[in-house]
Subunit: 316 residues, 2 copies
């Protein structure tokens, strides 16, 4: 039921990650005294080798990505990260160096984002490495941002640049050149926009993980609105521009951005810019919501709709 | 990155399990207002097909076991269960009926134990079905039971009967008869001892998941004590007695009991019996702790040590 060296493996690699309440990972469960008067925000993601990451990806980057995709979900709520629980199911012949690298990546990002490990479970598997991470954060009660709540007339804003993750996957597949390594790095290592104070500013929001257009569709559905974005307003990195216009559709519909997609009332755009400047995060307005059936229109500079061939994204 | 029918699958099978704060499983994260003045207790377990359950086990029993092994960890802390998050990684050809059965089992036990689903993630995998479940409970601050804290002279008590899970696995492997089906049922469906009020009664405790002797060793190590138990005091079910004396060692060292193993000061045994009676749970005294190097001695009725051939359990 357990890896032959499960206990020493935990002691060597995971105990150094344990924070307050984790009881040194020696007990059946962890303890957490919630911050007084705060509402908790919780989310969980699974990552499987061959599905969410490439089996030969560096293990420290896998650990960091696992933590960061969950931090991104907290960021989308405007939540402050606190601690996390994790499961690692790995083949019995997984080398110790893999665990060492995986834990080193987690340690690095724990320091960056101010979180600690609260508990976990390590098991063997006859299949690929399978990971799960449950993260806990907190907000002032009632201030969490949701997918619903956008109003007609609200502006659509995004953080950072869009499409680098999807292009990075294309790099990994050998479909595109990446002389600086920027795109592959962005695929492997998301930048969760933790620390952007959204409460009272955004009327709705989420992180972009399944592609800008599809995820904007989620906000449309949840809020009962249509959305229109201007293709030329969507912020692209220099590397994405280098890739050329034929990759624009990939940028708009590809996954793995982990940027925030926000609905912001026009009167709040100044507050958003101020919050973004305080957090050192770039934000760009790309369109607006209007009343209508839930649908996403991407308009070209010519005024014509941008023809996205990837099916299923624009109608619900 | 997602199952072809991920969204409708979640809507069909998992949304009915969602409770308060889960936002209908439509958002990036869930919300939880912690019970005022309570300390949270959190634990996570992974279960992999072929490792923790048999691939052809009925899916409702897999769901119930996944929830129950985590409830057992909460029970070991004396915690009240609240809600849980879950990940399901399944092959793309997993039939819808598997998910339906899995969710039906969870629904049944949610009702039994008063918990609801708070959030989750559903992904595909090229490997076996891999599950994880993070459960959240709560205790009065500072009252959680730990593995450490046992004192010399404390009595050793267990709930229920010991060994049925390990014998049930032997049944599943065709190594032993089980005319009533009792043993197989106990292997597939643990009885977490939720509701046994341990605060102020037990000085230490844990749930027995890796075998009575090994887990008692954990308490010995954490508490800096030796333990002695009387083999003939260990409570066995009628079915385990039917299996005959050659299976006794399996009962003492096999896993999957999910009973509670408790250190109880002699002056508290009456309180334990009263709490157990109130909860409708059988408890049995099987030995005591004494000062000495962390070690577990199992004594036969003759007074001789019981020779357990399974290595590595009695010395640390």
């Amino acid at each position: 039921m357990i890896l032959p060296a499960e206990f020493s493996l935990i002691a060597r690699h995971f105990r150094p990650l344990a924070g307050p309440g984790a009881l040194d990972l020696r007990d059946d469960a962890a303890l957490l005294m919630p911050p007084p008067g705060r509402e908790l925000v919780l989310t969980v993601d699974a990552m499987v080798a061959g599905v969410h990451f490439l089996p030969d990806d560096p293990p420290d980057l896998i650990g960091r990505k696992l933590l960061r995709v969950n931090l991104s979900d907290l960021a989308a709520k405007g939540a402050v990260p606190l601690s996390y629980l994790m499961t690692v199911s790995a083949p019995k012949d997984t080398p110790d160096s893999w665990f060492a690298g995986f834990a080193a990546g987690l340690a690095q990002d724990q320091a960056t984002y101010g979180v600690t490990l609260l508990g976990g479970d390590t098991t063997s598997t006859p299949g690929p490495i399978s990971l799960s991470l449950t993260i806990i954060g907190h907000v002032a009660p009632g201030t969490a941002i949701h997918r619903f709540g956008a109003q007609a007339g609200d502006e659509i804003w995004v953080t950072g640049t869009i499409g680098d993750g999807a292009l990075g996957l294309a790099v990994a597949r050998g479909e595109i050149m990446d002389p600086t390594g920027f795109l592959l790095d962005r695929y492997r290592l998301p930048r969760p926009r933790v620390g952007l104070a959204l409460a009272g500013i955004a009327s709705a929001g989420m992180d972009v993980s399944d592609g800008l257009v599809q995820d904007l569709g989620h906000i449309c559905r949840a809020s009962g609105l249509a959305a229109e974005i201007a293709a030329e307003s969507v912020p692209l990195s220099g590397a994405a521009r280098e890739a050329g216009p034929k990759w624009l559709a990939t940028c708009l519909t590809g996954g793995d951005d982990y940027e925030l997609l926000l609905a912001v009332p026009p009167g709040q755009s100044g507050a958003l810019l101020a919050a973004a400047a305080a957090a050192g995060i770039q934000v760009t307005r790309i369109g607006h919501f209007h009343s209508g059936a839930p649908e996403v229109m991407v308009r070209q500079a010519s005024g014509e709709p941008f023809a996205l061939t990837r099916g299923g994204w624009s109608h619900f």
